[in-house]
């Protein structure tokens, strides 16, 4: 049986299927995360470009039907036409990563320097002759900047780690040098490394450069003072501290407190300590901290020979013009630690 209607219906169905497939392919290009453009002929005339390609070269530019040299004229003197000519003539693919390019893509067409990953591939017709070029491009400027930032950060962390190991080495060696016996050395070293570790927590928690003097003082108080009957009165402004200084300040506070508990004002029930810090100097360019003990047993300077005193006198790490003065006043030990404020707060 011959049925014209059935045959027509089949043809229409096939055409519809083709159309659907074309639309799907068009969608694939549109949805692609990279910029895609098709150029035809030896003059490289834009035949198609997806959304992403437009946003890469500068949204709103009229390019379809124009040659690359007309439509994106700023790339001519950057040598891109020569590369396209070469791909068209030889059929060889051109691939480049993080290629610097200048594009007039600003909101008012102003020039911007970007980095792109770029591929030019020859497209061939049935007889194998090159008829156009497929352009795939991706703006990697932000990606590369982020990579560079991460690389810098990991380099910085590596350096910081080396410095901290050197510091731990110095602390260990000072502890062992001056310890009366191995058990005491072990205990002291354990405490000191824990203090450094706690100080490090404030650096990690607060993010880069967000430790404050107050945080370090609180850590010391938590370890050496009783919140129910506080004996260390502390006060000072909210002051940011750099990571190198924060490690040494935490160690100094720990040693002062340990010393006070063992021999000083905190070794007797009636003794107490005044701890204050401030921004000082006529140009307000110095950090200053004072530790003053009251009501303890009479002080003898001979107490100043232990490893604790040596660690205190090492001063604030990473600062310019750092000073430490320990005064064995008979009424109670006084210690003043000071340094240039800018380097005290600086992130190294």
């Amino acid at each position: 049986m011959f049925c014209a209607c059935a045959e027509i219906t089949a043809k229409v169905a096939t055409e519809r299927a083709h159309k659907t497939q074309r639309e799907r392919f068009a969608q694939v290009f549109e949805l692609n995360q990279g910029g895609i453009a098709m150029l035809v002929g030896p003059e490289h005339v834009f035949d198609y470009a997806n959304e992403e390609y437009y946003s890469m070269i500068g949204a709103g530019r009229e390019i379809i039907g124009k040659t690359v040299a007309e439509a994106v004229s700023e790339v001519v003197r950057q040598g891109f036409i020569d590369i396209l000519d070469n791909v068209y003539q030889t059929g060889e693919t051109f691939v480049a990563t993080a290629l610097p390019i200048e594009l007039n893509r600003g909101p008012a067409g102003e020039k911007q320097n970007r980095l792109i990953d770029l591929v030019y591939q020859a497209m061939r017709q049935d007889d194998g002759k090159v008829s156009g070029i497929l352009v795939q491009a991706r703006d990697v400027t932000e990606l590369r900047a982020e990579e560079a930032r991460k690389e810098l950060l990991s380099h910085e962390l590596g350096h910081r780690l080396k410095n901290q190991l050197a510091m731990v080495q110095a602390v260990a060696s000072q502890t062992l040098r001056n310890a009366p016996d191995l058990a005491t050395a072990r205990k002291r070293l354990n405490e000191r490394i824990s203090v450094l570790s706690d100080a490090h927590d404030t650096i990690l928690k607060g993010g880069r450069g967000a430790s404050t003097v107050q945080q370090l003082v609180e850590q010391m108080l938590a370890l050496h003072d009783d919140p129910a009957a506080p004996r260390i009165r502390s006060s000072g402004p909210d002051l940011k501290i750099g990571s190198r200084s924060s490690l040494s300040l935490s160690l100094i506070l720990h040693e002062l407190a340990t010393n006070a508990v063992k021999y000083g004002a905190l070794s007797v029930p009636q003794g107490n300590v005044e701890l204050e810090w401030r921004v000082a100097g006529s140009a307000r360019d110095r950090f200053e901290m004072t530790w003053i003990e009251h009501g303890g047993p009479p002080v003898a300077a001979s107490e100043g020979s232990g490893s604790g005193t040596r660690l205190i006198s090492a001063g604030l790490n990473g600062t310019a013009d750092g000073r430490v003065a320990i005064d064995y006043d008979i009424k109670g030990l006084r210690c003043m630690v000071s340094a240039d404020l800018q380097t005290f707060q600086k992130e190294h």
Partner: protein, 123 residues
């Protein structure tokens, strides 16, 4: 062999590390002078031109870093041996004066001593 003991100079902004380096050198029998930055180091070198070796960190606050100090010392005190110590920098060829040595931080006691002897610096 010289009859007068000649001091070595340790330049390091980190007080703890400076103290530790000085202790190590003192244990080895060296007479040790110290400076916390390059500017101080130049003053010490001017007062003590007999200093036999300069051991300097690189990354320090002040007008000059340790590489600058090493260059200056090589020019002004050619007899002074130079050891540069750092955890951050690996100085590129040519940035250190001729004959200067580079050690990475933290420094091993043995390495410090060996390097000094290789440079003919003794207590």
């Amino acid at each position: 062999m010289s009859s007068e003991p000649k001091p070595v100079l340790v330049v390091e902004d980190d007080g703890l590390i400076r103290m530790d380096l000085m202790d190590t050198l003192t244990d080895e029998g060296f007479q040790v002078l110290e400076a916390a930055n390059a500017d101080q180091a130049v003053m010490v070198l001017e007062r003590h031109p007999e200093i036999s070796a300069l051991l300097t960190d690189i990354d320090m606050p002040g007008s000059m870093n340790g590489i600058g100090l090493a260059q200056l010392a090589a020019q002004r005190w050619p007899d002074c041996r130079i050891i540069v110590i750092s955890g951050r920098f690996n100085p590129e060829n040519g940035s250190l004066p001729e004959g200067a040595r580079f050690l990475t931080k933290p420094v091993r006691d043995g390495v410090l001593n060996t390097t000094l002897r290789e440079l003919s610096v003794s207590p």
